[in-house]
Amino acid sequence: MAAAQQLDQARPRARPQTERRMKRRELWLALAFIVPGIALAVLFKLVPLIRGFHLSLLETQGFEEPSFAGLENYRTMLDDPVFIGSFRNAAVAFATLPIWVLLPLVLAVLIFQRSPGWKFFRATFFLPYMIAPIVVGIMFRQILAPDGPLNALLRAVGLAPLAIAWLNGPNSALLSLTAVALWSFFGLGVLTYLSGLATISEDIIEAARLDGAGFWSLLLRIVMPLLKPVIGYWTVLCTSGILIWMFPLIYALTKGGPGNATTLPEYLVFTTTFQFMNRGLGAAIGMALFVFVAIVSAFVVRRMYAEGKAS
């Protein structure tokens, strides 16, 4: 009886102790999961970013000893028409984003609804993504030459006025570069959208069809609303693809020319840093690019997050 009383008295004291122990264990477990991630992020993202910013404050022309230059590199950068031009080029390339987002979606839906030859196209569309961008660049330098196969084809089918020197004009060169990048990248989009489409119940599609929905109606009213998170994800990928993954294509296709017509900021960072050996100015341009991409991506990710929350 006395023992039972003692046990009863002990119980309320034991529970908080156990809870505290469990909470502590949970805390340690949580830390064990979080700390490696944070450490990696700090080590490989934050530290290089801080080092990059520090470098952007140094004067490092050629092989001379670096010296502190304050914001001089940023002033030089903003005074340089090539820098301004590179961001203008990036903006033009970025304006093609809707095509990057919608084209693979349309193709994915066509494959998803088993259009004739869907198996062939599913494999074919993904093929360009498997070719190294540097090879794609070299390939298209030949294809887009004034006397290359594309113009030969255009002339053969009676479209001679369209057979222009694609890589010579400032606008045509930039658009050609963007189109080649899209050709190289869109297969991944088709695959991404197909994964998303696989999660949509066939009953919904079937019901829409029975209600008389055509292709565009199905795409705009059923598929797109249901695929909003996937579209958001793909949009972020395309944004970074356009702004910071074009380098190998520029390198192999145009080298930023003619003039600076296809020089995007990432290419300018590279030439400034490694060709002209001006690491400080290169870092400053890199920081500007980082801010630009961060703002654009933050906008897209925020939209994605809001859509996800709403759904």
Partner: protein, 439 residues
């Protein structure tokens, strides 16, 4: 009994201990034997753009390793037009190859902190060469030297005799002046061929085209002033050079794709395919007489000086010559002894013979047997042309100037830039050049 058993036990333990010791020793020695051998061999990494071609380099490395069995050479070969972008990160991080290649002149001087100064015994090897000043500061062998050359390099214009004949021109008398060239181009275009194969992307316009027009307006003193940043691009002589370059494309001599292609390989391919009459390239290493002889047939290939713009200019009839690329040892290398031996070998007689026989190059080594040279009409013409050398104006352009020159020429060709604006850009590039800017 006890003692006996203990002795047996002792013998057994002794035997066991001996056996284990032997096994242990064997286990230790077995991997150590080849390791000890491997430790005697020093592997050096050589960054290069394979001047002279793959076969020449294969034989060069084999010959060096045979002469130096304790050194193994590992090549990192990068295409010429992408070389600065690969070398840049190595220099920026002070790590990577033990031996590096660079063009002689300003390109090397700009990077001199990445090179170890040549020691006296290596410099001795340089004295066996016709010249090695392009590896030394300001082309002066009394100053610090950072690399040794191995071949002679410079610009000539090649022509396809078959195309000239097809166009009704005399292959034995190719154009000598700008006006004659203009007239020849009109005839060549009339038969549907390109007159001058040209690529304006990358560093080729600076190295292969600029010096040939510059010789019409500059003296050697002017070129030295360029080297030290004392010749502004606003000087009328410099503006005339830009005008001369612009006239090549504005007169329609070149292929329409010129603004968006590189001379190597695209422009050279155009000439090698037989679709162009002329191509301005180099005498050694790549896209030279040997390559064109092979592609077009030696009987169809000719070599000449670029046509002159100003016939009585002091250097108009000269050859823009320079030691070809130089090889030096990286300042961060911890295998300097082996690396310097490679540099010395590059400049030596054995490599001179290989360069001539295998790569069809023109060696700088003084005592090469002329009978070792292959029979080629174009080579014979080149050997005459190089007898009157002058400084090479291309290798004294900074990276910034070379880049601005190519991009500006592209835009001028496409009618997007005036000569005045091109001049202003060149001047800005000069002011941003680390070795030339005035503080």
């Amino acid at each position: 009994m006890n003692s006996s058993s203990s002795r047996k036990g002792g013998i057994g333990r002794h035997l066991a201990a001996t056996a284990f010791s032997l096994l242990g020793a064997a286990a230790l020695v077995a991997p150590l034997a080849p390791a000890a051998h491997a430790a005697d061999v020093t592997t050096i990494k050589v960054l290069n753009w394979e001047p002279g071609g793959a076969e020449y380099w294969k034989q060069l490395v084999a010959a060096f390793e045979k002469a130096n069995p304790d050194v193994k050479v590992e090549l990192e070969t990068v295409p010429f037009d992408r070389y600065p972008e690969v070398q840049g990160p190595y220099i920026a991080t002070k790590s990577g190859p033990d031996v590096m290649e660079n063009n002689a002149g300003l390109e090397l001087y700009d990077r001199r902190s990445a090179y170890a100064e040549l020691p006296a015994d290596v410099l001795e090897a340089g004295k066996e060469l016709i010249t090695y000043s392009g590896g030394c500061l300001n082309f002066d062998t009394s100053k610090s030297c950072y690399g040794l050359p191995f071949g002679y390099q410079g610009n000539v214009m090649y022509y396809n005799k078959k195309v000239l004949a097809e166009a009704g021109l005399d292959p034995a008398n190719p154009p000598k002046t700008w006006d004659e060239m203009d007239a020849a181009c009109a005839k060549i275009k009339a038969i549907g061929k390109t007159c001058l194969a040209l690529g304006l992307s990358g560093i080729f316009p600076a190295y292969w085209d600029f010096p040939e027009v510059a010789r019409n307006y500059l003296t050697e003193d002017d070129m030295r002033a360029m080297l030290t940043g004392d010749m502004p691009w606003t000087d009328p002589k410099m503006i005339n050079i830009l005008k001369g370059l612009a006239s090549i494309t504005q007169k329609g001599w070149a292929n329409a794709s010129a603004p968006s292609i590189t001379m190597l390989p695209d422009g050279a391919d155009l000439f090698q395919s037989g679709n162009a009459a002329f191509a301005g390239t180099i005498i050694s290493d790549a896209v030279n007489w040997a390559a064109f002889d092979k592609a077009l047939g030696a009987e169809n290939v000719g070599a000449m000086r670029w046509p002159t713009l100003v016939a009585d200019a002091p250097l108009a009839g000269s050859f823009s010559g320079i030691e070809s690329s130089v090889f030096g040892v990286s300042s961060w290398s911890d295998k300097k002894d082996a690396a310097f031996r490679f540099v010395k070998f590059m400049a030596g007689p054995e490599n001179a013979e290989l360069l001539t026989k295998v790569a069809g190059g023109i060696s700088l080594y003084k005592n090469v047997d002329p009978s070792a040279l292959p029979k080629s009409p174009a080579l014979s013409q080149i050997l005459e042309i190089i007898k009157k050398p002058t400084l090479h104006a291309g290798v004294i352009l900074s990276g910034q100037e070379a880049d601005a020159l190519a991009r500006g020429w592209q835009e001028v060709t496409l009618g997007q830039l005036s000569i005045e604006d091109w001049t202003a850009r060149m001047q800005k590039a000069l002011e941003q050049s680390p070795s030339k800017r005035k503080k």
